[in-house]
Symmetry: C2
Subunit: 317 residues, 2 copies
């Protein structure tokens, strides 16, 4: 597969029956507060509550019938797990999901609600990958990696295709960075559609593995980071992702944990959306003035809305 | 003004530049849970966070230049106050807002953010109306009543025009009932566009003044009710509203406070939207099986999203 617009268009056509066209929202109050013109692509309103449904559907519906018959397998404690289980159910095949023991009950329930077959393992990437490999060997299921997979990357890029269809004159696109799947897809879509646009990744400062890798030009691994943005706790970007990010992304900036919480609350209050901490990370970069785009038009991808309503990061009166 | 479709179409044309076309969302999980096909009209995503912007804009932009020059006045501690202040600012005129002492700080700040001129008064309807009348006499400002006003009613009905444009084959439309402004507008729009549709108002059982009035055929007043749905704490419907409701509404059902909280939480979790308790009231009627529409298509108006994030009605872990 070559990295061209046809790849992204094919992904979009493939997944369209299985995903939602999410709305793009604006806010007079937030524009005033930040001195810019902001458009929010609401992937928290996506099927299964996150953009991950795009990549998962593209991967699952790219399989041949013979491949699909063996099912799919992944390791994830988060939104990719639920999205893959949902995509597999839509295709009528099995989804084997490796989750670390101690995963939040809400995430476990979410996977179960889509019929995912869960295998629990010890926490830590080694145990996850080993359990995943064992399951794949036993069942013949096809691995759908959460981010280091071109089918997944192409699927994630479709959010930016839709965003630019609705707001063609954006100067910037911003998205959060975990493993770099969304950032790779976003950058590909944005730059192939509109070469002059700037693509900015935003990462928690305590989870800056991709920012480090971007500057060093090689994949740098960090200990599993303790950021509140639970969707961004990956510790190393993918083999496929880094070259795409190096070629197409203009910059990766980092934000503090405090700014993420402030951003999350400001977006809940002003946009009236339930978004998870990870989704607030790009807006946190505006709060911390990580770059200037006074008066310019920026699109921000609100990545997901799966959050435990009893554990919100602000006090209760 | 006659109560026909032209009145509603004119309102829609008048306010279109000043309001948002809010999205209509669906949820596989909620359809499965309720055994129906539900469409949610997201007025929590409306300008100023509530459908009230529709009626307020229609009233303010219906004024002649001579009337407008004198400003507008209303009494409200909630979303109508902010919506009227916003509409007045868009027209460049003064908005005098009478608010009871002890109104939530978030609501006061909301009105102030749109440049509303606040006069505080003693709590209670008599003091509010007296202060409002005094202000109107002093300033010549035009009263824009929160619900007992045909311009406001016509404006509120435009949400249902948009809902039926997107989902023409609805069997039911459900909305919450406070003073009856939204219900009047919703019923007018729904029945004039699609005579066979059923229109159901849903009211908190402890605030059932409009349900009582609907059955009795006369306006029945109750003591100010203590429902969690703070937008529905009116104690008597309007003179204009009741005849419209009696003619066009099929039924008004009531729901418990417990069901309202359960509904609010289920909608936050599944739709990923911040909605205020009042907006959860129609869905509460489904939870309590207040009528059967198994397999049918229902549209629910999510009225607003202005809520104090530190005072959510569920525990914090």
């Amino acid at each position: 597969m070559s990295l061209d617009l046809a790849l992204l268009r094919a992904a979009h056509d493939r997944i369209r029956p299985y995903i939602k066209r999410t709305p793009v929202l604006t806010s007079e109050a937030l524009d005033l507060a930040r001195g810019a013109r902001l458009s929010f692509k609401c992937e928290n309103l996506q099927a299964a509550g996150a953009f991950k449904s795009r990549g998962a559907c593209n991967a699952v519906f790219s399989l041949t019938d013979a491949e699909a018959a063996r099912g799919v397998v992944t390791h994830s404690s988060g939104n990719h797990a639920a999205a893959l289980a949902r995509a597999a159910r839509l295709r009528g095949i099995a989804a084997h999901i490796v989750m670390p023991q101690g995963s939040p009950q809400s995430k476990v329930r979410n996977v179960e609600s889509f019929g995912g077959l869960i295998t629990f393992c010890e926490p830590g990437l080694n145990a996850r990958e080993a359990t995943c490999a064992k399951l794949a060997a036993e069942t013949g299921a096809v691995l759908v990696h959460p981010f280091d997979d071109l089918r997944v990357i192409a699927g994630q890029g479709t959010a930016t295709i839709e965003l630019l269809e609705e707001v063609p004159d954006l100067d910037f696109v911003l998205c959060p960075v975990g493993g770099g799947g969304l950032l790779s897809g976003t950058a590909l879509a944005a730059k192939l559609l509109k070469p002059g646009i700037k693509v900015i990744g935003v990462e928690p400062a305590v989870a800056d593995d991709v920012a480090q890798s971007f500057r060093a030009g090689k994949r740098i691994s960090i200990p599993t980071p303790a950021t509140i943005a639970d969707g961004l706790r990956t510790n190393c970007t993918g083999k496929i992702n880094l070259p795409i990010i190096r070629q197409y992304v203009d910059d990766i900036v980092t934000v503090s944990e405090e700014a993420i919480v402030t951003a999350m609350r400001e977006l809940w209050e002003q946009l009236h959306l339930v978004i998870e901490p990870s989704a607030a990370v790009p807006y946190a970069a505006l709060i911390e003035n990580k770059f200037t785009f006074a008066g310019r038009k920026a699109g921000l991808i609100l990545t997901g809305g799966n959050v435990d309503l009893e554990s919100l990061p602000w006090p209760k009166k």
